[in-house]
Amino acid sequence: MKILDSIQLRISGPICQQCAHFQNEPAHVEEAYRGLTVFSSGFASVRDQDGFCEYNQLYLSARDSCPHFAPRHTPPKPII
């Protein structure tokens, strides 16, 4: 089935967490999204490791990837 092709169990290849365009520090997310802390938190499990892609102007998962990947100059924090 075509839909099953879109599901994967393990990640391979470069991901947003390693990309220079990606920023997902919880404090940064809370600062950017004023009001987030009223009923949620940058440090909540539901947020996983999501963050901002400054290239695509998206809010997405650290496990995502795209053709515009650019390696970081500094090593990324490990994904948790």
Partner: protein, 464 residues
């Protein structure tokens, strides 16, 4: 290797262990279960943690209150010290600055003490001084009228306090109740969540809004408020400007419903268990709903014609909200992510949907809530009702309930203190219409299911 070259990491490697000390959810589990175990150790040794788990006794006059505080004042200081030590450890581990947190938390504790004491006045109910509502309104006044320095926000951790309170709440709910009422809670919450989501989603689409914004709004109204919106936003790759729209709408309606749902329930004299179920079905965020449910439970036994107990309101609320709605957030994000990559947006990213997000996004504090419930159920097992009321309740359950009330009060106050209306993003008329349509459906359907269909069920919730 040059500095620009980075070895691909395998995101499935054991670095996931770091979640145990970097996420608030897990810290709520560690602290909550630690408190329960400590309380049990003291109980087994014939003692109790009740000395430090201080709570104000009922008082009528200021001289009575003065006399009470002159003997218990040292216990409040000890409690402040204990909370400060524990919470500062948490704040340090998750990467925030203790220097800002410590004075901010002392501010929260002092205000919470005043609110808790005011709520213990024997005339408090006459003037509608329900502690959760007083905490919320005082916080809103201070943040929006008086104005507070931004650095104080370090101590206003609504989510952390509420999660800790929910884990402690688990210790006061029998696991048999969760088993008995869980399936009905899941059925009722699922019906409302799906209908509300579809209402918001298709109204938004009809108004021409983007698929992803429609999904982010729908999740906020149907699952668990801001937490669901932000989780779905990440899963469906929302545009950067989408989450703030949902945040503004959830905050706006959640605060209205904190006040409106208990008020309407009180007017039509709903039993506390039924009122709690309705609030659990129709409120969005955990903290907002607990403020409303605790307020409504406070009306029980006050000669207002409301049957049931305060605990029933909290129990039915928590069953519907936590068991019926919160734990399914991973499934919602997985399904919506799958739809996003296969139908809505195929071009912007090239990755696939990971099944693991069902666990990654699971609200882990629920695990602590369930374990706490199992633990106390095992501890209490074998006691007669007489022994429970005479021995177990005052020495073990009452101190945990007191600490739970403190955690909830910190959270309710922090809701008000963090809500700065002028800082919320403008939502726009179309998202407002779509979300409001969902709110209307949610409240009406929630009422029908909680009162008409399952009313007999929720009014008979047994909490001991």
């Amino acid at each position: 290797m040059t500095p620009t070259e980075t070895k691909p990491v395998d995101a499935n490697q054991p670095s996931g262990w770091q979640e145990f000390w970097l996420k608030e959810d897990w810290w709520a589990v560690w602290l909550g279960l630690g408190i329960v175990l400590l309380a049990y150790v003291f109980y087994l040794s014939g003692s109790s943690i009740s000395w430090i788990a201080v709570s104000p006794a009922k008082w009528s006059t200021l001289s009575q209150l003065g006399a009470q505080l002159s003997t218990t004042g040292i216990r409040y200081l000890a409690l402040l010290g204990a909370f400060l030590i524990l919470f500062t450890v948490v704040i340090s581990f998750i990467g925030q600055k203790p220097k800002a947190f410590i004075p901010a938390f002392i501010f929260v504790f002092i205000l919470s003490t005043v609110i808790y004491i005011a709520g213990s006045w024997d005339q408090a109910n006459r003037y509608n001084l329900e502690p959760p509502l007083v905490a919320l309104l005082l916080g809103l006044f201070l943040s929006n009228v008086v104005g507070l320095p931004r650095w104080l926000d370090a101590g206003f951790r609504v989510e952390f306090y509420i999660k800790l309170g929910i884990v402690l709440l688990g210790a006061t709910l029998p696991f048999t109740l969760i088993i008995w009422a869980g399936p009905v809670a899941i059925l009722q919450a699922s019906i409302v969540s799906i209908v509300t989501f579809l209402t918001i989603f298709f109204t938004a689409r009809k108004l021409g809004l983007d698929h992803r914004l429609a999904a982010v709004l729908g999740a906020g109204g149907a699952v668990c408020g801001v937490s669901a919106s932000i989780a779905v936003a990440g899963a469906v790759r929302a545009k950067k400007e989408h989450p703030p729209i949902a945040i503004s709408l959830v905050v706006f309606w959640a605060i209205i419903l904190i006040i409106a749902l208990p008020l309407v329930s009180r007017t039509i004299h709903l039993p506390t268990g039924v009122g709690g179920a309705w609030i659990g079905t129709s409120e969005f965020a955990d903290a907002a709903g607990l403020a409303a449910a605790q307020s409504y439970g406070g009306y029980a036994g006050k000669g207002l014609g409301i049957s049931g107990t305060a605990d029933q309101a909290l129990a039915s609320y928590t069953l519907i909200k936590v068991i019926g709605r919160d734990i399914w957030i991973g499934i919602w994000t997985f399904v919506l992510a799958l739809i996003a990559v296969t139908v809505w947006e195929k071009s912007e990213t090239n990755s696939k949907v990971q099944v693991g997000q069902i666990w990654w996004r699971f609200p882990k504090f629920v695990i602590g809530f369930l374990i706490a419930s199992v633990l106390t159920t095992l501890i209490v097992h074998g006691n007669t009702l007489g022994d429970y009321n005479k021995l177990v309740k005052p020495a073990l359950i009452a101190p945990i309930t007191s600490l739970r009330t403190w955690a909830f009060t910190f959270s309710f106050l922090s809701i008000g203190l963090t809500t700065r209306f002028r800082e919320l993003a403008a939502a726009g008329i179309k998202p407002f219409i779509a979300f409001t349509a969902g709110v209307i459906v949610n409240v009406i359907l929630g009422y029908i299911l909680s009162v008409v269909v399952f009313g007999h069920y929720w009014s008979s919730v047994v909490t001991h």
